[in-house]
Symmetry: C2
Subunit: 146 residues, 2 copies
Amino acid sequence: MRDKLEQAGLRVTRQRMMIANLLFAKGDRHVTAEGLYAEASVIPYPPSLATIYNTLRDFADKGLVREIALYGGKVWFDTQTGPHFHFYLEDREELFDIPESMIPSFDIPAPAGMRIAGIDVVIKLERLPEGMILDAPDNRDKSAHP
Amino acid sequence: MRDKLEQAGLRVTRQRMMIANLLFAKGDRHVTAEGLYAEASVIPYPPSLATIYNTLRDFADKGLVREIALYGGKVWFDTQTGPHFHFYLEDREELFDIPESMIPSFDIPAPAGMRIAGIDVVIKLERLPEGMILDAPDNRDKSAHP
DNA sequence: TTTTGTGCAAATCGTTTGCACCGTT
DNA sequence: AACGGTGCAAACGATTTGCACAAAA
């Protein structure tokens, strides 16, 4: 984890180590600054909210995390830095990955003088009102896939 | 234009008519509240900024415009209400359509108990630093816009 | 010791809201 | 007349920033 910070050209501090551990220990994560702050606050001597914001921005600048395109409101960061494909559950403010196997390939050429710096795909979901399904984020229906 | 408002179940007021005209007269548009306000402000007795915000939200609720998923900051609205596919030029804060012919088809099934309420695709662009484009970051010409 | 990071509170930005007044039905 | 819409300014939530102090190089 130290290496990760050092390689990114960031000084290794207690706060950054704590944040990096929260972000990168448990695999792929989607977080907001507030959410991460809440998570960090159970630990003794947690970083301040301002530091969480600053650190997430620093991490994003260095390419350790990636900002996600989403509707208004809060800014989300993803520990997976490649192109992004997400389901977004608006009423619960939940965001989760779409398995890469379901993603079509993009062959869209960049306009002249430009390069593609990132691709975001967001599929907004609504819950069907026949709410008898206690759906976990991962019980998606794969049968209907062509 | 009156019809458009009436069909949406919105009272026809001077301000709403003015905003609807700005939005729907010139084909497909991508706007922010601030941008639309600036545009409206050249007209005598323009709507207030608060009314622009409220009206855009009302229009979005009624399906006349659609909110776009984008990185942090401001909320963008699109007069094209179907699925969205955009190029986003970050350094200029410009947003424009990707021709539909370039878009791959999406056959991603919704998870059980959900329906797809919208699809947003954002391709973030960066300008290549080559000399082909002469303008320095700050000498953009806002007057000569078609 | 020099440089950079941190924490707090205040500032800022985009957006929403409370309230008195005005326009539409 | 009743209801909803508008404008202003104040409120708000998310994020950034100025500054004094602390920690890393």
